[in-house]
Symmetry: C2
DNA sequence: GAATGCATGTCGTGC
DNA sequence: GCACGACGTGCATTC
Protein backbone atom coordinates (compact mmCIF):
# COMPACT_ATOMS: atom_id res chain seq x y z
CA UNK A 1 0.00 0.00 0.00
CA UNK A 2 1.32 3.36 -1.07
CA UNK A 3 0.24 6.60 0.61
CA UNK A 4 0.83 9.93 -1.09
CA UNK A 5 -0.24 13.33 0.18
CA UNK A 6 -0.32 15.61 -2.83
CA UNK A 7 -1.62 18.87 -4.20
CA UNK A 8 -3.47 17.59 -7.23
CA UNK A 9 -6.41 17.76 -9.60
CA UNK A 10 -8.31 14.63 -10.62
CA UNK A 11 -10.47 13.68 -13.59
CA UNK A 12 -12.58 10.57 -13.96
CA UNK A 13 -13.90 9.42 -17.31
CA UNK A 14 -16.03 6.32 -17.61
CA UNK A 15 -19.62 5.64 -16.70
CA UNK A 16 -19.80 9.39 -16.21
CA UNK A 17 -17.35 12.26 -16.03
CA UNK A 18 -16.18 13.92 -12.85
CA UNK A 19 -13.64 16.59 -12.07
CA UNK A 20 -11.85 17.57 -8.88
CA UNK A 21 -10.19 21.00 -8.84
CA UNK A 22 -6.71 21.50 -7.45
CA UNK A 23 -6.43 20.79 -3.71
CA UNK A 24 -4.41 18.78 -1.20
CA UNK A 25 -5.59 15.19 -0.87
CA UNK A 26 -4.60 11.68 0.12
CA UNK A 27 -3.85 9.32 -2.76
CA UNK A 28 -4.03 5.69 -1.66
CA UNK A 29 -2.66 3.09 -4.05
CA UNK A 30 -3.46 -0.52 -3.17
CA UNK A 31 -1.55 -3.61 -4.15
CA UNK A 32 -4.21 -4.58 -6.72
CA UNK A 33 -3.72 -1.30 -8.60
CA UNK A 34 -6.85 0.35 -7.23
CA UNK A 35 -6.60 4.00 -6.24
CA UNK A 36 -8.61 6.04 -3.74
CA UNK A 37 -8.62 9.84 -3.57
CA UNK A 38 -9.66 11.02 -0.11
CA UNK A 39 -10.19 14.46 1.33
CA UNK A 40 -10.16 15.25 5.04
CA UNK A 41 -13.91 14.93 5.34
CA UNK A 42 -16.94 13.23 3.89
CA UNK A 43 -17.49 9.65 4.87
CA UNK A 44 -15.84 6.45 3.83
CA UNK A 45 -16.53 7.01 0.15
CA UNK A 46 -13.58 8.60 -1.62
CA UNK A 47 -14.02 11.74 -3.71
CA UNK A 48 -12.82 9.71 -6.67
CA UNK A 49 -11.46 6.22 -7.13
CA UNK A 50 -10.62 3.38 -9.47
CA UNK A 51 -11.77 -0.12 -8.65
CA UNK A 52 -9.47 -3.10 -9.08
CA UNK A 53 -8.15 -4.61 -11.21
CA UNK A 54 -6.39 -1.53 -12.53
CA UNK A 55 -2.94 -0.39 -13.58
CA UNK A 56 -1.21 2.81 -12.57
CA UNK A 57 1.03 4.48 -15.13
CA UNK A 58 3.17 7.42 -14.07
CA UNK A 59 4.23 9.83 -16.78
CA UNK A 60 5.79 13.24 -17.24
CA UNK A 61 3.38 16.07 -17.97
CA UNK A 62 3.15 17.41 -21.50
CA UNK A 63 4.17 21.01 -22.22
CA UNK A 64 0.74 22.48 -21.55
CA UNK A 65 0.38 20.70 -18.18
CA UNK A 66 3.98 21.55 -17.24
CA UNK A 67 3.15 25.17 -17.83
CA UNK A 68 0.21 24.77 -15.43
CA UNK A 69 2.50 23.44 -12.71
CA UNK A 70 1.99 19.69 -13.08
CA UNK A 71 5.08 17.77 -12.02
CA UNK A 72 3.74 14.25 -12.50
CA UNK A 73 0.72 12.68 -14.16
CA UNK A 74 -0.89 9.43 -13.05
CA UNK A 75 -3.14 7.47 -15.35
CA UNK A 76 -5.13 4.77 -13.60
CA UNK A 77 -6.74 2.49 -16.15
CA UNK A 78 -9.33 -0.13 -15.25
CA UNK A 79 -8.35 -3.54 -16.59
CA UNK A 80 -11.94 -4.58 -17.30
CA UNK A 81 -13.73 -1.45 -18.47
CA UNK A 82 -12.61 1.73 -20.20
CA UNK A 83 -12.96 3.72 -17.00
CA UNK A 84 -9.98 5.94 -16.38
CA UNK A 85 -8.70 8.22 -13.65
CA UNK A 86 -6.21 10.95 -14.43
CA UNK A 87 -4.38 12.57 -11.54
CA UNK A 88 -2.32 15.69 -12.15
CA UNK A 89 0.13 16.11 -9.30
CA UNK A 90 1.31 19.67 -8.72
CA UNK A 91 3.16 19.04 -5.48
CA UNK A 92 4.02 15.82 -3.67
CA UNK A 93 3.99 16.63 0.04
CA UNK A 94 4.57 13.20 1.52
CA UNK A 95 4.98 9.63 0.37
CA UNK A 96 5.28 6.26 2.09
CA UNK A 97 4.84 2.59 1.26
CA UNK A 98 3.89 -0.35 3.47
CA UNK A 99 3.55 -4.09 3.10
CA UNK A 100 0.27 -5.06 4.78
CA UNK A 101 -0.16 -8.65 3.65
CA UNK A 102 -3.49 -10.33 3.03
CA UNK A 103 -6.32 -9.47 5.41
CA UNK A 104 -8.10 -12.32 7.21
CA UNK A 105 -11.43 -10.57 6.54
CA UNK A 106 -14.55 -9.54 8.36
CA UNK A 107 -16.87 -11.60 10.55
CA UNK A 108 -20.45 -10.27 10.76
CA UNK A 109 -23.45 -10.94 12.99
CA UNK A 110 -26.92 -9.48 12.81
CA UNK A 111 -27.55 -9.30 9.07
CA UNK A 112 -30.78 -10.38 7.38
CA UNK A 113 -29.74 -14.03 7.46
CA UNK A 114 -29.62 -13.93 11.29
CA UNK A 115 -32.96 -12.16 11.44
CA UNK A 116 -34.43 -14.85 9.19
CA UNK A 117 -33.05 -17.66 11.33
CA UNK A 118 -34.49 -16.08 14.48
CA UNK A 119 -37.93 -15.49 12.96
CA UNK A 120 -38.03 -19.04 11.60
CA UNK A 121 -37.27 -20.34 15.10
CA UNK A 122 -39.83 -18.02 16.68
CA UNK A 123 -42.47 -18.20 13.98
CA UNK A 124 -45.25 -17.82 16.58
CA UNK A 125 -44.14 -14.19 16.90
CA UNK A 126 -46.43 -13.68 13.90
CA UNK A 127 -49.45 -15.21 15.63
CA UNK A 128 -50.52 -18.20 17.66
CA UNK A 129 -50.66 -21.49 15.82
CA UNK A 130 -48.19 -20.48 13.08
CA UNK A 131 -45.86 -23.21 11.89
CA UNK A 132 -42.81 -23.09 9.63
CA UNK A 133 -42.95 -24.76 6.22
CA UNK A 134 -39.46 -23.72 5.22
CA UNK A 135 -36.91 -20.92 4.90
CA UNK A 136 -35.65 -19.81 1.47
CA UNK A 137 -38.50 -21.45 -0.41
CA UNK A 138 -37.28 -21.36 -4.01
CA UNK A 139 -39.46 -20.17 -6.86
CA UNK A 140 -38.71 -19.39 -10.50
CA UNK A 141 -38.35 -15.68 -9.74
CA UNK A 142 -36.31 -16.00 -6.56
CA UNK A 143 -36.45 -17.35 -3.02
CA UNK A 144 -39.31 -16.53 -0.66
CA UNK A 145 -37.66 -15.70 2.67
CA UNK A 146 -40.02 -17.77 4.81
CA UNK A 147 -43.03 -19.91 3.94
CA UNK A 148 -45.32 -20.75 6.85
CA UNK A 149 -48.80 -22.00 7.72
CA UNK A 150 -51.18 -20.03 9.91
CA UNK A 151 -53.54 -21.37 12.59
CA UNK A 152 -56.20 -22.07 9.93
CA UNK A 153 -53.75 -24.04 7.80
CA UNK A 154 -53.47 -21.34 5.13
CA UNK A 155 -50.13 -20.73 3.45
CA UNK A 156 -48.31 -17.51 4.32
CA UNK A 157 -45.37 -16.04 2.41
CA UNK A 158 -43.14 -13.81 4.52
CA UNK A 159 -40.77 -11.23 3.10
CA UNK A 160 -38.16 -10.14 5.59
CA UNK A 161 -36.22 -6.89 5.59
CA UNK A 162 -34.14 -4.90 8.01
CA UNK A 163 -35.69 -1.76 6.60
CA UNK A 164 -39.06 -2.14 4.95
CA UNK A 165 -39.64 0.10 1.96
CA UNK A 166 -41.74 -0.03 -1.16
CA UNK A 167 -39.36 -2.32 -3.07
CA UNK A 168 -39.87 -5.10 -0.54
CA UNK A 169 -43.64 -4.89 -0.98
CA UNK A 170 -43.24 -5.13 -4.77
CA UNK A 171 -40.99 -8.14 -4.32
CA UNK A 172 -43.48 -9.91 -2.06
CA UNK A 173 -46.31 -9.04 -4.46
CA UNK A 174 -44.46 -10.77 -7.30
CA UNK A 175 -43.95 -13.86 -5.15
CA UNK A 176 -47.60 -13.93 -4.08
CA UNK A 177 -48.77 -13.68 -7.68
CA UNK A 178 -46.64 -16.67 -8.57
CA UNK A 179 -47.41 -18.77 -5.50
CA UNK A 180 -51.14 -18.24 -5.92
CA UNK A 181 -50.93 -19.89 -9.33
CA UNK A 182 -49.88 -23.11 -7.55
CA UNK A 183 -53.10 -24.98 -6.63
CA UNK A 184 -51.27 -26.93 -3.93
CA UNK A 185 -50.38 -23.74 -2.08
CA UNK A 186 -53.15 -21.28 -2.99
CA UNK A 187 -54.55 -19.23 -1.43
CA UNK A 188 -51.33 -17.67 -0.16
CA UNK A 189 -51.37 -14.63 2.13
CA UNK A 190 -48.43 -12.25 2.49
CA UNK A 191 -46.71 -10.83 5.54
CA UNK A 192 -44.14 -8.04 5.25
CA UNK A 193 -41.88 -8.21 8.27
CA UNK A 194 -39.13 -5.69 9.03
CA UNK A 195 -37.39 -3.92 11.90
CA UNK A 196 -38.84 -0.69 10.57
CA UNK A 197 -41.54 -0.21 7.92
CA UNK A 198 -41.92 3.07 6.06
CA UNK A 199 -45.39 4.65 5.86
CA UNK A 200 -45.67 4.46 2.08
CA UNK A 201 -44.66 0.81 2.14
CA UNK A 202 -47.32 0.15 4.78
CA UNK A 203 -49.96 1.88 2.68
CA UNK A 204 -49.03 -0.06 -0.45
CA UNK A 205 -48.93 -3.33 1.48
CA UNK A 206 -52.34 -2.78 3.07
CA UNK A 207 -53.74 -1.78 -0.32
CA UNK A 208 -52.68 -5.20 -1.59
CA UNK A 209 -53.95 -7.12 1.41
CA UNK A 210 -50.47 -7.73 2.79
CA UNK A 211 -50.05 -7.63 6.56
CA UNK A 212 -47.17 -5.67 8.09
CA UNK A 213 -45.25 -6.78 11.16
CA UNK A 214 -42.55 -4.77 12.89
CA UNK A 215 -39.84 -6.97 14.39
CA UNK A 216 -37.78 -6.30 17.50
CA UNK A 217 -34.43 -7.93 16.73
CA UNK A 218 -33.02 -7.37 20.22
CA UNK A 219 -36.07 -8.96 21.84
CA UNK A 220 -35.92 -11.90 19.44
CA UNK A 221 -32.23 -12.34 20.15
CA UNK A 222 -33.05 -12.15 23.84
CA UNK A 223 -35.59 -14.95 23.54
CA UNK A 224 -33.00 -16.90 21.57
CA UNK A 225 -30.45 -16.44 24.33
CA UNK A 226 -32.91 -17.59 26.98
CA UNK A 227 -33.81 -20.64 24.94
CA UNK A 228 -30.14 -21.40 24.38
CA UNK A 229 -29.55 -21.20 28.10
CA UNK A 230 -32.46 -23.55 28.83
CA UNK A 231 -31.27 -26.31 26.53
CA UNK B 1 -5.85 13.81 8.52
CA UNK B 2 -3.96 11.22 10.51
CA UNK B 3 -2.53 8.08 8.94
CA UNK B 4 -1.52 5.14 11.10
CA UNK B 5 -0.22 1.79 9.90
CA UNK B 6 -0.83 -0.65 12.72
CA UNK B 7 -1.09 -4.30 13.64
CA UNK B 8 -4.55 -4.30 15.14
CA UNK B 9 -7.89 -6.01 15.71
CA UNK B 10 -11.17 -4.14 15.24
CA UNK B 11 -14.70 -4.58 16.60
CA UNK B 12 -17.81 -2.77 15.46
CA UNK B 13 -20.97 -2.72 17.53
CA UNK B 14 -24.05 -0.90 16.34
CA UNK B 15 -26.62 -1.76 13.71
CA UNK B 16 -24.87 -5.12 13.64
CA UNK B 17 -21.71 -6.61 15.07
CA UNK B 18 -18.51 -7.18 13.13
CA UNK B 19 -15.07 -8.39 14.08
CA UNK B 20 -11.70 -8.09 12.35
CA UNK B 21 -8.95 -10.44 13.56
CA UNK B 22 -5.42 -9.23 14.20
CA UNK B 23 -3.64 -8.00 11.04
CA UNK B 24 -1.71 -5.04 9.66
CA UNK B 25 -3.98 -2.29 8.35
CA UNK B 26 -4.24 1.38 7.56
CA UNK B 27 -6.14 3.48 10.09
CA UNK B 28 -7.27 6.78 8.62
CA UNK B 29 -8.56 9.40 11.03
CA UNK B 30 -10.24 12.40 9.41
CA UNK B 31 -10.64 15.88 10.84
CA UNK B 32 -14.35 15.29 11.57
CA UNK B 33 -13.52 12.32 13.82
CA UNK B 34 -14.47 9.68 11.29
CA UNK B 35 -12.21 6.65 11.03
CA UNK B 36 -11.59 4.25 8.14
CA UNK B 37 -9.89 0.86 8.46
CA UNK B 38 -8.42 -0.21 5.12
CA UNK B 39 -6.61 -3.35 4.04
CA UNK B 40 -4.42 -3.58 0.97
CA UNK B 41 -7.25 -4.88 -1.20
CA UNK B 42 -10.96 -4.72 -1.77
CA UNK B 43 -12.31 -1.59 -3.36
CA UNK B 44 -13.06 1.78 -1.92
CA UNK B 45 -15.15 0.44 0.93
CA UNK B 46 -13.17 0.10 4.14
CA UNK B 47 -13.20 -3.14 6.10
CA UNK B 48 -14.69 -1.18 8.96
CA UNK B 49 -15.34 2.47 9.62
CA UNK B 50 -17.13 5.09 11.69
CA UNK B 51 -19.07 7.83 9.98
CA UNK B 52 -18.86 11.44 11.11
CA UNK B 53 -19.58 13.07 13.40
CA UNK B 54 -17.63 10.91 15.81
CA UNK B 55 -15.10 11.24 18.60
CA UNK B 56 -11.92 9.23 19.00
CA UNK B 57 -10.82 8.40 22.54
CA UNK B 58 -7.41 6.82 23.07
CA UNK B 59 -6.94 4.78 26.23
CA UNK B 60 -4.52 2.37 27.82
CA UNK B 61 -5.49 -1.29 27.60
CA UNK B 62 -6.85 -3.02 30.67
CA UNK B 63 -4.91 -5.88 32.26
CA UNK B 64 -6.49 -8.59 30.14
CA UNK B 65 -5.84 -6.75 26.86
CA UNK B 66 -2.32 -5.82 27.97
CA UNK B 67 -1.65 -9.52 28.52
CA UNK B 68 -2.82 -10.15 24.92
CA UNK B 69 -0.33 -7.63 23.58
CA UNK B 70 -2.51 -4.55 23.17
CA UNK B 71 -0.48 -1.36 23.57
CA UNK B 72 -3.25 1.16 22.87
CA UNK B 73 -7.02 1.06 22.59
CA UNK B 74 -9.06 3.40 20.40
CA UNK B 75 -12.76 3.90 20.99
CA UNK B 76 -14.53 5.68 18.16
CA UNK B 77 -18.01 6.73 19.22
CA UNK B 78 -20.62 8.04 16.81
CA UNK B 79 -22.03 11.36 18.01
CA UNK B 80 -25.51 10.67 16.66
CA UNK B 81 -26.11 6.95 17.16
CA UNK B 82 -24.79 4.38 19.63
CA UNK B 83 -22.55 2.84 16.97
CA UNK B 84 -19.06 2.22 18.24
CA UNK B 85 -15.75 1.06 16.83
CA UNK B 86 -13.09 -0.41 19.09
CA UNK B 87 -9.57 -0.74 17.74
CA UNK B 88 -6.99 -2.70 19.71
CA UNK B 89 -3.54 -1.69 18.55
CA UNK B 90 -0.84 -4.30 19.08
CA UNK B 91 1.91 -2.55 17.17
CA UNK B 92 2.10 0.90 15.66
CA UNK B 93 4.28 0.62 12.56
CA UNK B 94 4.00 4.12 11.17
CA UNK B 95 2.22 7.35 11.91
CA UNK B 96 1.86 10.70 10.19
CA UNK B 97 -0.44 13.69 10.21
CA UNK B 98 -1.30 16.20 7.50
CA UNK B 99 -3.36 19.34 7.18
CA UNK B 100 -5.37 19.03 3.96
CA UNK B 101 -7.79 21.93 4.28
CA UNK B 102 -11.32 21.94 2.94
CA UNK B 103 -11.89 20.25 -0.41
CA UNK B 104 -13.58 22.25 -3.19
CA UNK B 105 -15.64 19.18 -4.04
CA UNK B 106 -16.59 17.12 -7.04
CA UNK B 107 -18.13 18.27 -10.30
CA UNK B 108 -20.11 15.57 -12.11
CA UNK B 109 -21.52 15.22 -15.60
CA UNK B 110 -23.63 12.40 -16.93
CA UNK B 111 -25.87 11.58 -14.00
CA UNK B 112 -29.60 10.98 -14.38
CA UNK B 113 -30.38 14.70 -14.16
CA UNK B 114 -28.16 15.42 -17.19
CA UNK B 115 -29.70 12.56 -19.12
CA UNK B 116 -33.16 13.91 -18.30
CA UNK B 117 -32.31 17.43 -19.44
CA UNK B 118 -30.89 16.13 -22.72
CA UNK B 119 -33.84 13.84 -23.44
CA UNK B 120 -36.31 16.63 -22.66
CA UNK B 121 -34.47 18.87 -25.13
CA UNK B 122 -34.30 16.11 -27.73
CA UNK B 123 -37.69 14.53 -27.11
CA UNK B 124 -38.00 13.60 -30.80
CA UNK B 125 -35.33 10.95 -30.11
CA UNK B 126 -38.31 8.87 -29.00
CA UNK B 127 -40.16 9.30 -32.28
CA UNK B 128 -41.21 11.92 -34.79
CA UNK B 129 -43.88 14.33 -33.66
CA UNK B 130 -43.20 13.89 -29.93
CA UNK B 131 -43.52 17.02 -27.81
CA UNK B 132 -42.60 17.72 -24.21
CA UNK B 133 -45.37 18.38 -21.70
CA UNK B 134 -43.01 18.75 -18.77
CA UNK B 135 -40.11 17.31 -16.77
CA UNK B 136 -40.62 16.11 -13.19
CA UNK B 137 -44.41 15.95 -13.54
CA UNK B 138 -45.51 15.66 -9.95
CA UNK B 139 -48.00 13.03 -8.74
CA UNK B 140 -49.11 11.91 -5.30
CA UNK B 141 -46.68 8.98 -5.39
CA UNK B 142 -43.69 10.86 -6.75
CA UNK B 143 -42.49 12.74 -9.82
CA UNK B 144 -42.75 11.27 -13.32
CA UNK B 145 -39.37 11.95 -14.97
CA UNK B 146 -40.81 13.21 -18.25
CA UNK B 147 -44.37 13.58 -19.49
CA UNK B 148 -44.75 13.99 -23.26
CA UNK B 149 -47.26 13.77 -26.08
CA UNK B 150 -46.76 11.52 -29.09
CA UNK B 151 -47.57 12.29 -32.74
CA UNK B 152 -51.18 11.16 -32.20
CA UNK B 153 -51.60 13.47 -29.23
CA UNK B 154 -51.59 10.63 -26.70
CA UNK B 155 -49.92 11.17 -23.33
CA UNK B 156 -46.65 9.30 -22.70
CA UNK B 157 -44.99 8.87 -19.30
CA UNK B 158 -41.23 8.34 -19.50
CA UNK B 159 -39.17 6.78 -16.73
CA UNK B 160 -35.49 7.47 -17.12
CA UNK B 161 -32.61 5.47 -15.65
CA UNK B 162 -28.92 5.17 -16.25
CA UNK B 163 -29.26 1.42 -15.78
CA UNK B 164 -32.66 -0.04 -16.42
CA UNK B 165 -33.63 -2.89 -14.15
CA UNK B 166 -36.86 -4.35 -12.84
CA UNK B 167 -37.33 -1.69 -10.15
CA UNK B 168 -37.61 1.05 -12.74
CA UNK B 169 -40.35 -0.86 -14.56
CA UNK B 170 -42.28 -1.29 -11.31
CA UNK B 171 -41.94 2.43 -10.61
CA UNK B 172 -43.23 3.36 -14.06
CA UNK B 173 -46.09 0.87 -13.70
CA UNK B 174 -47.23 2.59 -10.50
CA UNK B 175 -47.14 5.97 -12.22
CA UNK B 176 -49.10 4.67 -15.22
CA UNK B 177 -51.75 3.15 -12.97
CA UNK B 178 -52.21 6.50 -11.26
CA UNK B 179 -52.05 8.67 -14.39
CA UNK B 180 -54.59 6.50 -16.18
CA UNK B 181 -57.13 7.30 -13.46
CA UNK B 182 -56.95 10.95 -14.57
CA UNK B 183 -59.52 11.39 -17.35
CA UNK B 184 -57.72 14.49 -18.62
CA UNK B 185 -54.58 12.47 -19.31
CA UNK B 186 -55.81 8.92 -19.98
CA UNK B 187 -54.93 6.87 -21.89
CA UNK B 188 -51.26 7.16 -20.88
CA UNK B 189 -48.59 4.98 -22.46
CA UNK B 190 -45.24 4.25 -20.84
CA UNK B 191 -41.70 4.41 -22.15
CA UNK B 192 -38.80 3.00 -20.17
CA UNK B 193 -35.63 4.79 -21.30
CA UNK B 194 -32.13 3.93 -20.10
CA UNK B 195 -28.52 3.76 -21.25
CA UNK B 196 -28.68 0.02 -20.66
CA UNK B 197 -31.75 -2.15 -20.05
CA UNK B 198 -31.48 -5.56 -18.45
CA UNK B 199 -33.18 -8.47 -20.24
CA UNK B 200 -35.54 -9.26 -17.36
CA UNK B 201 -36.59 -5.64 -17.15
CA UNK B 202 -37.28 -5.61 -20.88
CA UNK B 203 -39.43 -8.74 -20.60
CA UNK B 204 -41.43 -7.30 -17.70
CA UNK B 205 -41.87 -3.98 -19.50
CA UNK B 206 -43.07 -5.60 -22.73
CA UNK B 207 -45.42 -7.81 -20.73
CA UNK B 208 -47.02 -4.64 -19.39
CA UNK B 209 -47.15 -2.86 -22.74
CA UNK B 210 -44.31 -0.52 -21.86
CA UNK B 211 -41.89 0.38 -24.65
CA UNK B 212 -38.15 0.24 -24.01
CA UNK B 213 -35.68 2.71 -25.48
CA UNK B 214 -31.91 2.48 -25.12
CA UNK B 215 -30.29 5.92 -24.96
CA UNK B 216 -26.86 6.87 -26.28
CA UNK B 217 -25.70 9.59 -23.90
CA UNK B 218 -22.60 10.47 -25.92
CA UNK B 219 -24.66 10.88 -29.11
CA UNK B 220 -27.24 12.98 -27.27
CA UNK B 221 -24.52 15.14 -25.79
CA UNK B 222 -23.01 15.41 -29.26
CA UNK B 223 -26.29 16.72 -30.66
CA UNK B 224 -26.45 19.09 -27.72
CA UNK B 225 -22.98 20.40 -28.48
CA UNK B 226 -23.85 20.94 -32.14
CA UNK B 227 -27.03 22.77 -31.19
CA UNK B 228 -25.12 24.90 -28.69
CA UNK B 229 -22.63 25.82 -31.38
CA UNK B 230 -25.40 26.77 -33.78
CA UNK B 231 -27.09 29.20 -31.42
C1' DG C 1 -36.07 16.28 10.53
C1' DA C 2 -38.30 12.50 7.97
C1' DA C 3 -38.89 10.51 3.54
C1' DT C 4 -37.69 9.48 -1.03
C1' DG C 5 -34.75 8.08 -4.91
C1' DC C 6 -30.01 8.07 -7.10
C1' DA C 7 -25.30 5.84 -7.01
C1' DT C 8 -18.94 5.51 -11.14
C1' DG C 9 -22.99 2.47 -5.71
C1' DT C 10 -20.17 -2.19 -3.84
C1' DC C 11 -20.54 -6.89 -2.49
C1' DG C 12 -21.97 -11.58 -2.00
C1' DT C 13 -24.49 -15.58 -3.98
C1' DG C 14 -26.82 -18.62 -6.97
C1' DC C 15 -27.48 -20.13 -11.60
C1' DG D 1 -20.30 -14.44 -16.51
C1' DC D 2 -24.80 -12.56 -15.49
C1' DA D 3 -28.51 -11.25 -12.60
C1' DC D 4 -30.59 -10.37 -8.28
C1' DG D 5 -30.86 -8.75 -3.58
C1' DA D 6 -28.58 -6.94 0.77
C1' DC D 7 -25.93 -3.20 2.61
C1' DG D 8 -23.71 -0.64 9.26
C1' DT D 9 -25.70 1.00 2.22
C1' DG D 10 -24.27 6.75 1.84
C1' DC D 11 -26.06 10.96 0.06
C1' DA D 12 -28.68 14.95 -1.79
C1' DT D 13 -33.03 16.86 -2.28
C1' DT D 14 -37.59 17.74 -1.02
C1' DC D 15 -41.47 18.26 1.79
Amino acid sequence: MRLVIAHCSVDYVGRLKAHLPLATRLLLVKADGSVLVHSDGGSYKPLNWMSPPATLRVSSPDEVDLELGVVEQWTVQSAKTDDRLIINIHDKISESSHDLGVDPGLIKDGVEADLQRLLAEQIETLGQGYSLIRREYFTAIGPVDILARDADGATVAIELKRRGDIDGVEQLTRYLELLNRDPLLAPVRGIFAAQQIKPQAKVLANDRGIDCVTLDYDAMRGVDDIESRLF
